[in-house]
């Protein structure tokens, strides 16, 4: 079980690896598309990497609801519980 801070840090690392964005720019209230400029293909790569890192399953139909980094952190946290 990871804390939300740990999930955020892990997600920031994955986003940095995929897009080159600085990890500190990946904040809870940031929108993946509007703020971080992440396209759908990068988003799918991030989702699959997050699944592996956190040992969760993020269904495809759920991905469209993950608008902000916080949405993703909360989903992963809930899925781990």
């Amino acid at each position: 079980m990871a804390s939300n801070e740990e999930i955020l840090a892990g997600l920031a690392e994955i986003v940095n690896e995929e897009t080159g964005l600085a990890p500190e720019s990946v904040e809870m209230d940031k929108s993946f598309t509007d703020d971080l400029d992440i396209d759908s293909i990068s988003m799918m790569t991030i989702v699959v990497n997050a699944e592996e890192k956190f040992g969760v399953r993020i269904p495809d139909e759920e991905v469209k609801n993950l608008k902000t980094v916080g949405d993703a952190v909360n989903f992963i946290s809930g899925a781990q519980a």
Binding site: E18, T19, G20, I41, M44, T45, V48, E51, E52
Partner: protein, 411 residues
């Protein structure tokens, strides 16, 4: 008269240099790019061939990490070479609707394809990266160059095995002559130094097995040649309508005066022993260039160093150039670079353009005992080209019976 087409930009990333100035300096010195492959998979799969000619400057040193992540190595090489060629052309302001791309590959994204297959088998379908298809498709290099430069007059991908890079120049010339574009970024890229293609080429006994001495393995025209050496990299050339180049005061390296592509229709891999298809390509390219056999002073030969491949090219040159062939100096630069497959024609075109522009020829290494059946005048030591109007040829032939020839004229 068709539109005249000139060359205004050159780029390359190769086993003998990561840019054109380095490659050219090494090609005049006679440097071999062949080395033992330092990768675990050589031992893991007990490959019968343990060496290749790998690029000297990794694309990761030129491209950003994120750029590189979304590109197969073949596309990475294409982007590296085409950016150099574009910078070299000095083009700043251009109508991108009149800018096209003709970027070839022989094999395409083989690393991406096979990595994805491994991932599928080991981890399942969900782990197969969403960028897999755009990364493995053979038009990947052309598409990436088009995106990078904003070229909107079409992005084309000739695929004709080891003739691909030369066929890209043929296509570029046609695009400008027909009025569909004013500038075309042409080239070829290949990144197939992977255990599977090595195993496959080795199975057909196409590769040299001089595992104990890689630098001497690529030896075109030598009696002891035993196959080609796998190479990788890319070459890129900016073709431009002459009036377009003149209007912006561009530096012009040479004229792409004519091209030709023919097919042997003889055998899927073996060259026609009489070189008939190659002869037709040579004659047609000279005719296309309005050039005479007597104008030709230099040939960058296809010459891959296979026992069966080198001789039919000689036969074809003899048939096309006649007795004038005695006065033609031939360079077999695969002796240095290895065989870059679909990129080879583009890299060799860059060398041939520079030979005309600098009036000196790249040399052929490892020619210790010239095959008496191939009595060409091979350039084995630095040698200058004469002043005045001169013509040079570059040949490429590919599995499938593809023959491609370009005719370059000094300016």
């Amino acid at each position: 008269m068709p539109r005249k087409v000139v060359i205004t930009g050159l780029g390359a990333t190769t086993p003998i240099g990561g840019d054109v100035p380095t490659m050219w300096a090494n090609s005049l010195k006679g440097v071999s790019g062949a080395r033992t492959i330092e990768a675990d998979w050589v031992q893991q799969y007990e490959l019968p061939v343990t060496f290749a000619a790998q690029i000297t400057v990794p694309a990761s040193e030129v491209l950003s990490r994120v750029e590189a992540k979304r590109m197969d190595p073949s596309t990475q090489f294409a982007v590296v070479a085409s950016r150099e060629a574009w910078r070299d052309s000095g083009i700043e302001d251009i109508d991108k609707d009149r800018l096209a791309v003709a970027f070839a590959t022989g094999i395409g994204g083989v690393w991406t394809l096979l990595d994805a297959w491994d991932t599928l088998r080991e981890k399942g379908p969900r782990r197969v990266l969403p960028m897999t298809v755009p990364m493995l498709m053979p038009n990947g290099p052309a598409a990436a160059v088009s995106l990078d430069l904003g070229a909107r007059a079409g992005a084309h991908t000739p695929v004709s095995a080891c003739a691909s890079g030369t066929e890209a120049l043929h296509q570029g010339l046609e695009l400008i002559r027909s009025g569909k574009a004013d500038v075309v970024v042409c080239g070829g890229a290949e990144a197939a130094i992977h255990p599977m293609p090595i195993a496959a080429f080795a199975s057909m006994h196409a590769l040299s097995r001089r595992n104990d001495d890689p630098e001497s393995a690529s030896r075109p025209y030598d009696t002891n040649r035993d196959g080609f050496v796998m190479g990788e990299g890319a070459g890129a050339i900016v073709l431009e309508a002459e009036e377009h180049a003149r209007a912006r005061g561009a530096r012009v390296y040479a004229e792409l005066a004519g091209t030709s592509v023919t097919a042997d229709a003889y055998h899927i891999t073996a060259p026609d022993p009489e070189g008939l298809g190659a002869t037709r390509a040579l004659k047609a390219a000279l005719f296309d260039a309005r050039a005479q056999a007597e104008d030709v002073v230099h040939v960058n030969a296809h010459a891959t160093s296979t026992p069966v491949g080198d001789k039919p090219e000689y036969t074809a040159l003899k048939a096309a150039l006649g007795s004038h062939l005695d006065q033609v100096a031939v360079s077999a630069t695969k002796s240095q670079t290895g065989h870059l497959l679909g990129a080879s024609g583009a890299v060799e075109a860059v060398m041939t353009v520079l030979a005309l522009y600098e009036r000196t020829m790249p040399i052929t290494i490892n020619l210790d005992d010239q095959d008496p059946e191939i009595p060409l005048d091979v350039v084995t030591a630095p040698r200058d080209l004469p002043s005045g109007d001169i013509v040079a040829l570059s040949n490429s032939f590919g599995f499938g019976g593809h023959n491609a020839v370009i005719v370059l004229r000094s300016v």
